[in-house]
Amino acid sequence: MDSTATHTADAHVHGDHGHHKETFLTKYVFSQDHKMISKQFLITGIVMGCFGMLMSILFRLQLAWPDTSFPILEALLGSKWAPDGKLDASFYMGLVTIHGTIMVFFVLTAGLSGTFSNLLIPLQVGARDMASPFMNMLSYWFFFMSSVVLTVSVFIESGPAAGGWTIYPPLSAIPKAMPGSGMGMTLWLVSMVLFIVSALLGGINYITTVLNMRTKGMSMNRMPLTIWAFFFTAILGVLSFPVLFGGSLLLIFDRSFGTSFYLSDIFLNGEGALANSGGSPILFQHLFWFLGHPEVYIIILPALGITSEIIAVNSRKPIFGYTAMIISIIGIAFLSFIVWGHHMFITGMNPLLGLIFVIFTLIIAVPSAVKTFNYLATLWRGNIQFTTAMLFAIGLVSFFISGGLTGIFLGNAAIDIQLHDTYFVVAHFHIVMGCAAIFGMMAGIYQWFPRLFGRMMNRTLGFMHFWLTFIAAYLVFFPMHFMGLAGVPRRYYQFTILPEFGVWDDVNVLITMAAIVGALAQLIFLYNFFSSIFFGKKSVQNPWKSNTLEWTAPVERIHGNWPGEIPTVHRWPYDYSKPGYDDDFIPQTVPDDGTEEEVAHRKTVPTMPESKDPAEVVQFSSLLAKWLGLRNI
C-alpha cells in the first residue's frame, strides 16, 4: 500500500515539474507547496502572536498601575477605550478575551501545529507533498481569513467579544448583556467557524498523508516521534473541532434566530424577562470543553513531539523509551476526550459525574509523568549540544513539570472548589500550555529554520532570547500561584474589591515588569528571525547532524522535496552514538548491514557497553542497579 501510493504521487509530482512555470502568485501567495504553506502559517502565527502579546502588556499595565494615567494608551486606543489614559473596564475584558483566543487558537494551534505539521509530515515520512496540496492551501487561507476577521473585530465601535475566550452564554448569547456581546461576538463566532474549517481541512490532510504517503521502509514504528505527535494531534482536532462547530452554530441560532438552546429563566437589565426558556447554559460548556480539553493537547502534543526530536538529536542519544513515548501519546490522546468535565466541577454538575472526571483527569498525569522521566533519561549520559533549539526544549520540560504538577491540584475536584477561576488557574495553564507550548514552538523554529529558509539563525542572539524569556516567564507566572491561593479571582479589572487584595499590588507590579522584559526579549527573536531570512549564514544540508529524512533533501527546498527518487528508509530515526560507528549519527537512509538490531522493531535487546566513567558507579545504588540491569553501564 505504501509503495503504490508513493509511486503515484511520485509520478504526479514529476509530471508537474516540467510543465508549470511558477508565478509570484502561485509560488508565494496561493502556493500548494507544503513548505511555503508552512512558512505562511508560521509568519501569520508570529504576527498574531505579537498582537496577542501586545494586548497582554496593555492589560498588565492596568493591573499593575490601576490609578496611573498612561497618555500613550489614549494615543494608541483613543478616548473611548482609554479615557484619560486609563484602560476602560469593558475594553479590558475585550483585551483579555482576544488575547486568550489569539494565543490558544491562532498561535498555539495554527501557528504551532499548522507550521510544523505542514513542514515535517511530508519531509519526515518521505513524501513529495501533502496528500492534497490544494486542500492544504485552502486550510491556510481559511486560517488567514479567520485571523483577519478576529483582528477586525478588535477595532469595531462596540468593541471586541469580551466574555472571556470560553464565551460562556448567556453572557455571549445576549447582545445586550455587555457591549462586547454585540457585533464583536458575532465576528468572533464567524472567525471561529472559519478557523474550524481550516483546522479540519488541515487535520484530514495530515492524517491521510501519514497513513498513506510514507516512503518505502517507513513503517509506523520507524516514524520520528514528531510525526506520531502531529498524527494524534490531527486526530484529536478532527474528532473534537466539529463539536465546537456545532456548539457555535447553536450559539449563533440563539443570538440571531430566537432559539433557546442555552437560554432559560433570564431577566435582563433594560430588556425585561426574555421569552427564551428551556435551554441550559451548561450545555454549551459541555460542548465547548469537549473541544476545549482535547484542544489543550492539540496545543501541547506537537510541542512535546518537537521536543522529543530535538532532545534526542542534541543529546546525541536515542530517545529513551520510544515505544513508551508512543503509548503515552496514544494514552494522552484517548484520555483527553473523557476529562472535559474537570473544567466544570463547580457548575452545579452532578457531583457523581465529578467523581468520574477526577479519576480520568488524574490518570492523565501518569503518561505525562512517563514522558517527563523519559526526557530526563534521554539527557542522562548524553553529549548535550546546547543549540538554541535544545535550550528551548529543556525549557519546555521545565515548564511541563511545573505546570503539570499544579494540574494535579486543579484536577482534584475538592481542591478545585477553592482554586477554580483564581489566579492559580491562570498560572497553571499559562505555564503548562502557554510557556511550554511556546517554548516547543520556539525550539522548532530554531531547529528547522535552516530547512525553511536555507539559512541559520544567529546562535548567540538565540541564547539571549532563551535565557531572558525563560527567566521572565517564571517571574510572571510563578507568583500568580500564590495570588490564587489568596483567593484572587481571575479576569478582574482591578483588585480593589477587598482590602486583603492590596498586599498583591507590589506583586502585580513585579509581574508586569517581568512581562515587559519578556516581551522585549521577543524583539530579539523577531530581529533574529526576520534578518536571518535574508542575511543569515548559509546553512549546510544537515546542520544538526540529524538522522531524520528532512535533512536528506537539498538545502534549496525544491518543489517535490527530493530531486531524484524519494529516499528509502532502513532504520528507526534514533541511531545516535551507536557503538561501533565512527559518526555519532546514522541517518535513516543508511542501509542496515544485517548485524544491527533495530530497537523500534524489538529484534533484540541491545547490550550495554562497559562504563568508562567510574564516577558513575555509585556504591549505594548498586543493588538497585543490578536488579534494573543497569550494572554494566
Binding site: 486609563k86 445586550k176 448583556a177 431577566f267 435582563l268 543529546s315 477526577v358 546546547f386
Partner: protein
C-alpha cells in the same frame, strides 16, 4: 500581612497630613453643596452608605465602569436634573431630555435602575457625598470601587516606585544592547579565527546550574514571602478538610518538583557536550519504565482517593436544607433572602421580576398588578413602532449643524431605523412581553396557582450588602441568577459554586469561627468574610461583593429580628400602592 499594615499606616499618615493642611477636623472637603443644604458629616456618611448599596456596583467616583465616573457630576449637571435622573431616568429620557438621551447612547444603552423610592433627603445626601468625594474629602477613601485603603497609598511614594521600575526597564534595555554588541564582537572574532572563541556548551551548562540554584532559592523565598500572604486558616468545617487535601497534594508535588527540576538542570550541566565525547547508546529499559509508571500511579491513587472522599463529604452533605438562605445574583451584585417566621422561602419566578418585586417572588397581588403594566408597555412599543417614520424625520432635522459624536449617534440611529434593526428590536421586545404576560396568566389561572402563590414569600426578608449567619450551624445557600452566569466564591469558607440562570445551585457549609473570633485570631479588627464573583459576568465583574458576618447564635437572633419582612402588609406599604411596578430595573 505585614505589607498591609504598613500600607495602612502610611495611609493614615498621609490622611492626617492632608487633614492638617486643610485645617479640618471632620472628613468633609467641601463647604457648600449644590443641594442647597448645609454640609455636615452625617449627611455625607449617609450618602456614602447609600452610594455603596445603590450605586457602587455600576459607578465609581474616579473610574468609568458600567456607568460614567461620577467625579464632578455636580459641575456638569444641575441638582434638579440629577434628582430627576436618579429617581426615574426612564421618564426623563422619554420626556426627550437631550443630556439624558446622550448619556444613554454613550454608555451602550445600558439602562440604569429607577430609584423611585429614594426621598429628597436621601438624594441630597447622595449628591453631597459625591461632591465631597470629588473634592478628595475624607469620605473619598471609602470609595470601594476605585480606591481600597491600600491603593490610596501616598502618590509621591508610588511615583518613586514607578520611576525605579521604569529605570530598571531602561537598564535592561541598555544591558541587552551592550550584550548584543559584545555578542557581535565575539562573532566577528570567531569568524576571523575560524573557530568559536567561547565554548558555548560550557557557558550554557554553567548558566543552567546557576539558574537552578537561584531558582531554588527563589522558590523557597516565594513560599516564605508570598506563601505568607495566602489565605488564613479556613473558617468552615469542610474548608479544613479541603486544606488538608491541598497540603497532602502540595507535599507530593513539591517533592516531585524538586527532584525532577534538579535532575533536569543537573543533567544539562553534567552531560554538556564535550569534544571527543560520545553519548551512551541507551534506548530503553523496561523495568525502569515500569517503575516510573507505577510510582506516579500509586501516588495519584492516594490523591484520588483522598480527593474523592473530601469531594463526597462536601457535595453530599447530609445536613443540607437545615437553614436556607437564598442568594440572588445579578449584574453586578448579590441580594440575600431569608425566610420569615414561617421558616420557608417563598416561590419565585423570573417572569415576576419588576421594580416592585426585585427577586420575582410569587406574590399574587404584585403579579396581577404587573400584567396591565406590561400591556401598557406593549402599547407604548406599538406606538413607537408606528411612529418610526416620524422619529426618522425628527432625527434628520436634528442633525443640521451637529458635528462629531453627536452627529455620529444620530446617524447610527437613522441607519438602525432604515435597515429595520430598530423595528425588529421592538418586535422582539413586544414578543418578550407577550410571552411574559402569557406565563404570568398561566401561573395565576391554572390549578397550580394555589401552590405557587402560597404566600410563603410574604414574610421573606430581602437583605443587601451585609448578611449574618450563625456559627456552628449547617447553612445552605440556595443560588439563583437573574441574567448571566456568576460564581459565588467565599475564599475564607473555601466555598465556590456557579450561579446559573435556570439551574438552581447550592452551597452547604458550617462556619466554625465567628467574624469576631477570626478578627481576634488574626489581630485585625477590620477583617471580614466576603462573597465575591469569580465567573466573568460583564464590565463590573470585579466589583460584586457581599459581606458575610458569622455571629454567635444570640447575636444572630438579635440581627435577624431587626430585619423586617420586605412585603409585610402594614398600613405604610398599603398606602404606597400607587407606586406602580416598572419593568426595566437594575
Amino acid at each position: 500581612m505585614k505589607i498591609r499594615r504598613f500600607g495602612k499606616f502610611r495611609n493614615f499618615l498621609f490622611l492626617s497630613a492632608a487633614m492638617l493642611m486643610f485645617g479640618m477636623v471632620n472628613g468633609a472637603a467641601i463647604t457648600e453643596s449644590i443641594t442647597g443644604k448645609a454640609v455636615d458629616d452625617a449627611s455625607i456618611s449617609a450618602g456614602k452608605q447609600l452610594f455603596e448599596s445603590k450605586c457602587q456596583s455600576c459607578h465609581a467616583i474616579k473610574n468609568k465602569l458600567v456607568g460614567p465616573a461620577l467625579k464632578d457630576v455636580h459641575k456638569r449637571r444641575s441638582y434638579e436634573w440629577l434628582t430627576k435622573w436618579i429617581r426615574n431616568n426612564d421618564a426623563l429620557r422619554k420626556s426627550g431630555d437631550k443630556d439624558a438621551n446622550e448619556i444613554f447612547e454613550q454608555f451602550n444603552k445600558s439602562v440604569m435602575t429607577n430609584f423611585t423610592d429614594l426621598t429628597d433627603d436621601e438624594i441630597a445626601s447622595l449628591v453631597m457625598y459625591i461632591e465631597d468625594a470629588s473634592a478628595g474629602g475624607g469620605a473619598a477613601k471609602a470609595d470601594g470601587a476605585t480606591t481600597s485603603e491600600v491603593v490610596a497609598a501616598p502618590v509621591a511614594d508610588k511615583e518613586t516606585v514607578n520611576k525605579i521600575n521604569w529605570m530598571l526597564v531602561v537598564l535592561f534595555i541598555l544591558i541587552a544592547v551592550i550584550l548584543f554588541i559584545i555578542v557581535k564582537i565575539i562573532e566577528q572574532v570567531s569568524e576571523i579565527r575560524g573557530k568559536d572563541v567561547i565554548g558555548w556548551n560550557k557557558v550554557n551548562a554553567i548558566v543552567f546550574m546557576f539558574i537552578m540554584i537561584i531558582g531554588f532559592i527563589a522558590f523557597i523565598w516565594e513560599f516564605y514571602v508570598h506563601g505568607a500572604l495566602t489565605l488564613p486558616e479556613a473558617a468552615t468545617e469542610h474548608g479544613r478538610d479541603l486544606d488538608r487535601m491541598f497540603n497532602i497534594t502540595l507535599f507530593f508535588t513539591v517533592i516531585v518538583f524538586v527532584i525532577t527540576q534538579f535532575l533536569l538542570f543537573y543533567f544539562a550541566y553534567r552531560y554538556r557536550g564535550r569534544k571527543g565525547n560520545k553519548a551512551l547508546y541507551y534506548p530503553h529499559n523496561n523495568k525502569l519504565e515500569v517503575i516510573w509508571t507505577a510510582i506516579p500511579a500509586v501516588v495519584l491513587t492516594i490523591l484520588v482517593i483522598g480527593g474523592l472522599k473530601t469531594w463526597n463529604k462536601i457535595t453530599n452533605n447530609p445536613e443540607r436544607d437545615q437553614f436556607n438562605v437564598e442568594i440572588f445574583a445579578y449584574q453586578f451584585g448579590w441580594t440575600a433572602r431569608y425566610p420569615g417566621d414561617d421558616g420557608k422561602l417563598g416561590n419565585s419566578n423570573w417572569n415576576l421580576i419588576s421594580n416592585d418585586n426585585l427577586l420575582g417572588i410569587a406574590l399574587k397581588d404584585k403579579a396581577e398588578a404587573l400584567i396591565p403594566v406590561l400591556e401598557q408597555d406593549i402599547k407604548d412599543l406599538e406606538m413607537q413602532k408606528a411612529n418610526l417614520h416620524n422619529t426618522l424625520a425628527e432625527l434628520r432635522s436634528e442633525m443640521g449643524g451637529l458635528v462629531g459624536d453627536a452627529r455620529k449617534n444620530i446617524l447610527s440611529k437613522i441607519s438602525d431605523i432604515e435597515d429595520g434593526t430598530t423595528e425588529s428590536e421592538i418586535n422582539n421586545t413586544i414578543n418578550n412581553r407577550k410571552v411574559q404576560i402569557g406565563r404570568i396568566k398561566v401561573s395565576l389561572e391554572t390549578e397550580n396557582a394555589k401552590s405557587f402563590y402560597d404566600n410563603t414569600g410574604q414574610d421573606d426578608k430581602i437583605i443587601n450588602n451585609e448578611i449574618h449567619i450563625p456559627v456552628n450551624r449547617s447553612v445552605t445557600f440556595k443560588f439563583r441568577a437573574r441574567d448571566v452566569i456568576h460564581s459565588a466564591y467565599i475564599p475564607m469558607f473555601r466555598s465556590q459554586i456557579n450561579v446559573v440562570p435556570g439551574l438552581g445551585t447550592e452551597m452547604v457549609f458550617k462556619a466554625i469561627e465567628t467574624t469576631n473570633e477570626k478578627r481576634a485570631k488574626l489581630n485585625d479588627p477590620e477583617f471580614d468574610y466576603w462573597m465575591i464573583c469569580a465567573k466573568i459576568c460583564g464590565a463590573a465583574h470585579f466589583n460584586m461583593k457581599l459581606k458575610i458576618v458569622v455571629d454567635t447564635e444570640e447575636d444572630y437572633k438579635i440581627w435577624i429580628d431587626k430585619q423586617s419582612a420586605t412585603f409585610a402588609k402594614d398600613p405604610k406599604t398599603e398606602n404606597s400602592e400607587n407606586s406602580t411596578p416598572s419593568i426595566a430595573i437594575n
